[in-house]
């Protein structure tokens, strides 16, 4: 085989198709761009985290505890020395007198010193240096926007009022997104209203260390670990914080990498589909080469060289676009990142991305290129020689397919956080692909088969055109359908969730919760609600407690025993209630619920099934509770299932009446405000009178839900966008590839007397129907997916709002029509003669 011939012929043969090839490859360009930008961003992120490691923690070492540090730990802290700074954090209502509104916030009370590294970025700049001395507050920017509060206004926390000195933009340890869920307020530790930290609220006590002597914080911490554990004191070092962040962020960008994977896969399919048609048009050329003595290998090599050339161009272009895109990602994700990511081109990422792009292009062109092998020189003698047998009988086709599939799976595994996720992702995607392909082929076949003969000719011809030889209808339906599927699944599941929240908020359900109410405050708070004209819908006592022992084995002993796994359920602080009956959101699954305890024997308690499983306990097991210093022996006498989605006070453990009445408790009161205004008025009235009482209204939860959902939605939309773009590219290539065929069709129609107008109408019908079938495929599948999601995952009633889906349907149809018509420009105006002369 002559290499020189192969190369030069490949180049010459591509003449006149190069622009087309660029179009074929552009779906691949998108995929490579996604990969390069995501991986390059990941590298930059990692570097930023390494560079700014110490500012992540803001110190060299930190201790934290849910309780004030016990004396031995205080002594330890003293002995460690270095520079120290303490902070106490808790949730509390923040009341803003200017608008007269209150909202639950995370209050962080600081001593001077922290952060030792990095800084709290505020507006105006430097407010973080002043607030401690000036006894002022720094407030999260999102919160200030929400309440239209300005610097210079004031905020009241407990019985203390602080002037707001600035808005918080960035802090160590937390990304800005934290502010969305629970806005932060920084105040000085000195002068804090201590009733807030003593009256029931969960409080976090921290101490931060800086070691100017350069001590090894990790070694120090390791030597103290046992003592700290025993006192339930957590600790953190720079290295740990750094590892934690990079693990979390690696997962994030690997997830994004799977997005890239999907677009690459679609791109590969797009390229394969275009090459398939391209190769069919080259059969005559290949046959002539064979007559003149070219070997099979030479002819295959010619087109392989073209594919490699396309792959290289695609990889280069993709890298280029990807590097550009990469500058956008930090902007989009900045709220979630703890560090500023500096833009830099990561060459390993570019190499990896373009290498994978090239590889996928070659793998995906192998399948259609196999067709070249079976071209016989006889095809030159007889045009339209026998259509060759189905590729499924060709063992090489299976080899090529298996190579492409395993290449993709390998790639998914490289990109995914671990191989199981990679495999799962591949399998899931394969399943969606299969279902989509099946559904779309059914739809297309059904449409062609069942188009009533009574329809106008223009419509019947347009539909029939979808079935013209060499059509790529399936491929287009498939990728457009996939994009529509992603978007509409998003729409459908969002609707289901929102609807469910509407149900929560509707009718007679409570929509405002007040908690941390002290026993002596219950009556006055209820009275206050009555004055405001809202009902008390429930009033529940809550007692905080910890697990001391299970079946006489203490948690401390279990902790020592390294063979046992302790879970969150063993360590957490429980908030339990006592009552004599089950509520509407509870269902008994095992045992008998005992509502009253007569004071003899173990206290009969009811456990929620999931937490029981987590603790490894069952009916009849004994639990010793530490209720703020008092030990109580209890026995599990029933298991309950709890519907956590109802806005009620739900509990892991429920005690009977007669057991906890003497324990220090706080109360939760639920009510229903008629509207936002009444809710705001109510909350400020309560916080004014009882600063330690916190409240949350449903609107707030909705807001948080919305914030989370919109971030997830962004990523899914991004995926959908890629697949719709790919679908449109496949459409454009398909139209261009079939240009000559379309010209002949239109010439024939014109010769038979069709007007230009009729020809255009037929074309419009073809594209509209194509868009319709694609969108319908995607939407149908999304309805199925949405139903399964709501049934199995959200456990909610399935609702379907037709309007957004119809809008989507219309949009996809319109897009298809526009792209199709644009790419057909000129095709239908060609002179009849031109077509008769050329023999392409």
């Amino acid at each position: 085989m002559s290499m020189r011939f192969t190369a030069s012929f490949a180049w010459r043969d591509s003449r006149g198709s190069r622009r087309r090839m660029l179009l074929f490859i552009s779906s691949m360009v998108l995929g490579v761009a996604a990969l390069v930008s995501i991986n390059s961003f990941g590298d930059n992120l990692e570097r930023a985290i390494d560079n700014e490691a110490r500012t992540l923690l803001g110190a060299d070492l930190s201790f934290e505890s849910d309780n004030p540090f016990p004396d031995d730990i205080e002594a330890l802290i003293d002995s460690i020395g270095g520079n120290q700074s303490r902070r106490t954090s808790f949730s509390s209502m923040a009341f803003f007198p200017a608008p007269g509104k209150a909202r639950l916030a995370t209050v962080r009370a600081h001593e001077p010193g922290y952060p030792f590294y990095g800084s709290v970025v505020t507006e105006p700049a430097g407010a973080a240096d002043r607030y401690l001395e000036a006894a002022g507050a720094l407030v999260d920017g999102t919160l200030m926007n929400q309440f239209e509060v300005e610097t210079g206004d004031s905020v009241r926390i407990g019985n203390q009022t602080y002037p707001i000195l600035g808005r918080i933009l960035e802090t160590p340890r937390e990304s800005a997104a934290v502010g969305l869920f629970s806005p932060r307020i920084y105040i000085p530790l000195a002068g804090l209203d201590t009733t807030l930290t003593t009256l029931g609220s969960r409080v976090e006590y921290e101490v931060y260390f800086q070691f100017p002597d350069g001590r090894d914080a990790d070694a120090l911490r390791d030597s103290l670990q046992a003592t700290l554990r025993a006192a339930d004191v957590g600790s953190d070092t720079v290295r740990e914080e750094q590892e934690g962040w990079s693990r979390a962020l690696t997962n994030l960008y690997r997830f994004l990498g799977l997005v890239g994977f999907m677009s690459l896969l679609l791109g590969g399919l797009g390229v394969a589909s275009s090459i398939h048609v391209y190769v069919k048009q080259r059969i005559a050329t290949v046959a002539v080469l064979r007559v003149y003595g070219a070997s099979v290998a030479t002819t295959v090599a010619v087109y392989l060289v073209q594919a490699i050339g396309m792959g290289i161009v695609g990889a280069l272009l993709g890298s280029f676009v990807g590097v550009g895109l990469q500058t956008l990602i930090p902007v989009l994700l900045s709220d979630f990142l703890p560090v500023d990511v500096v833009f830099a081109v990561s060459w390993p990422a570019v190499l990896l991305g373009s290498g994978i792009g090239l590889g996928v292009t070659i793998l995906f062109t192998l399948m259609p290129l196999l067709r070249v092998r079976s071209v016989s020189p006889l095809d030159a003698l007889r045009s339209g020689a026998d259509e060759h047998a189905s590729p499924l009988r060709d063992p090489w086709w299976w080899v090529a397919t298996a190579m492409a599939a395993s290449g993709l799976v390998a790639f998914a595994i490289i990109q995914a956080p671990d191989w199981k996720v990679g495999l799962g992702y591949s399998a899931g995607l394969a399943a969606v692909f299969l279902v989509l392909a099946g559904l779309s082929s059914l739809l297309v076949k059904g449409l062609v088969r069942f188009t009533p003969a009574s329809l106008p000719y223009v419509i019947r011809q347009g539909v029939a055109n979808l079935y013209r030889p060499n059509n790529q209808t399936l491929m287009m339906v498939f990728s457009l359908g996939l994009g529509t599927f992603l978007i509409s699944t998003l729409l459908v599941s969002q609707q289901v969730l929102l609807d469910q929240l509407d149900v929560l908020g509707g009718g007679e359900q409570p929509n405002l919760i007040m908690y941390d109410i002290q026993p002596d405050q219950v009556a006055p708070v209820e009275q206050l609600l009555a004055q405001q004209g809202v009902p008390v819908m429930s009033s529940v006592p809550i007692v905080t407690m910890r697990l001391e022992a299970i079946n006489d084995e203490t948690i401390d002993a279990m902790r020592e025993d390294t063979t046992q796994r302790l879970s969150w359920a063993h360590r957490r602080e429980y908030r339990s209630t006592f009552r004599s009956t089950l509520t509407k959101s509870e269902t008994l699954v095992e045992g008998a619920f005992q509502g009253i305890w007569d004071g003899t024997g173990a206290i009969p308690v009811s456990a929620e099934v999931d937490v029981a499983e987590e603790l490894g306990v069952d009916l009849g097991d004994r639990i010793t509770w530490n209720v703020q210093g008092v030990m109580l022996d209890a026995e599990i006498t029933s298991l309950r299932e709890v519907d956590w989605q109802r806005l009620e006070t739900n509990f892991f453990f429920v005690f009977p009446e007669g057991a906890l009445e003497q324990a220090p408790a706080f109360h939760v009161v639920m009510t229903r405000a008629a509207d936002d205004e009444q809710s705001a008025r109510l909350q400020s009235a309560v916080v004014e009178a009882y600063p330690n009482v916190s409240s949350i209204d449903l609107a707030l939860i909705l807001g948080v839900f919305d914030a989370i959902f919109s971030r997830i939605a962004f990523i899914i939309r991004f995926m959908a966008l890629f697949s719709i773009l790919t679908g449109l590219i496949v459409l454009a290539s398909a139209v261009i590839v079939s240009r000559f065929q379309r010209m002949q069709e239109s010439v024939l129609l014109k010769t038979l007397g069709a007007s230009r107008h009729t020809v255009l109408q037929i074309m419009a019908v073809e594209y509209t129907v194509l868009g319709f079938v694609s969108a319908l495929t995607g939407i149908l599948l999304a309805i199925i997916a949405g139903w399964s999601l709501s049934y199995f995952v959200f456990e909610a009633t399935f609702v379907l709002h037709a309007v957004p889906l119809l809008l989507l349907l219309g949009t996809v149809m319109l897009l298809t029509l526009v792209i199709g018509m644009l790419n057909s420009r000129g095709v239908y105006e060609r002179e009849t003669m031109d077509v008769l002369r050329s023999e392409i």
């Binding site: 002559s2 020189r4 011939f5 030069s8 012929f9 010459r12 043969d13 591509s14 003449r15 006149g16 198709s17 005559a284 050329t285 046959a287 002539v288 080469l289 064979r290 007559v291 003149y292 003595g293 070219a294 070997s295 099979v296 290998a297 030479t298 016989s376 020189p377 006889l378 030159a380 003698l381 007889r382 045009s383 002369r837 050329s838 023999e839 392409i840």
Partner: protein
């Protein structure tokens, strides 16, 4: 003189499903260097099939073909392709120029496939010889049918073949253009000594060749030697 093509007892049967169709039935003939030969017969009589078999484009059901000393039956596909490249020229009824190549490049393809270099001059001369010396850079779509067929003829001669197969080379052309093309073919036959095998419906063209093979229903019904004019 050396035998260029020797066909013995050639039979070709196509099977489709359970039915089989014998298209060629025990055809034999020999051609020597410089011979001119035409195959005639009604449509469907197996002319194209015979030509394809002779050129090694397909394998026979029975019988043997020896092309320039190579027993085509014993060769693999790629070996047959090499034999074609070295010894055979081909002209098709529907021209079959490669659409993405200029006239000059089309002519050079067989030589380039062989890895020959410095062939541009030869190709240019050939195009000049067929009267297209000023159309070197034109693409097939820019040429008339007759011009395309002349390019195809030049392409067929670039490797100085021992034998030229032409399947109704003038079937798509008018009388005048045909005459011109035939002129060139016979001239090349005379000057280079290339053996000429033509399939044609044109009795006049057939009568210009030295021998005529008449096919009917796959059988060679008659082989006549045309008296030299």
């Amino acid at each position: 003189m050396a035998v260029v093509l020797s066909v013995r007892d050639l039979t070709k049967t196509f099977k489709s499903g359970s039915r089989s169709l014998t298209v060629l039935d025990s055809v034999s003939f020999d051609l020597e260097e410089g011979d001119t030969f035409s195959i005639v017969g009604p449509s469907g009589s197996g002319k194209t099939t015979l030509l394809g078999l002779c050129a090694g484009l397909d394998g026979p059901t029975r019988g043997s073909i020896s092309l320039c000393g190579h027993d085509m039956g014993s060769l693999g596909e790629d070996e047959r392709a090499r034999v074609r490249n070295e010894h055979v020229g081909f002209v098709f009824q529907s021209f079959r120029l490669l659409p993405t190549l200029t006239a000059l490049e089309n002519v050079m393809v067989p030589a380039e496939l062989r890895g020959r270099r410095g062939i541009v001059d030869g190709a240019r001369d050939l195009l000049a010889e067929v009267g297209l010396g000023d159309r070197l850079g034109h693409y097939p779509t820019q040429l008339s049918g007759g011009e395309q067929q002349r390019v195809a003829l030049a392409r067929a001669f670039i490797n100085k073949p021992d034998i030229l197969f032409a399947d109704e080379p003038t079937g798509n052309l008018d009388a005048e253009t045909s005459a011109h093309l035939e002129e060139i073919m016979f001239r090349l036959n005379r000057t280079a000594g290339t053996t000429l095998v033509l399939v044609t419906h044109d009795a006049e063209l057939a009568s210009r060749t030295g021998r005529i093979l008449r096919l009917r229903g796959g059988k060679a019904v008659e082989q006549e030697v045309v008296p030299a004019p």
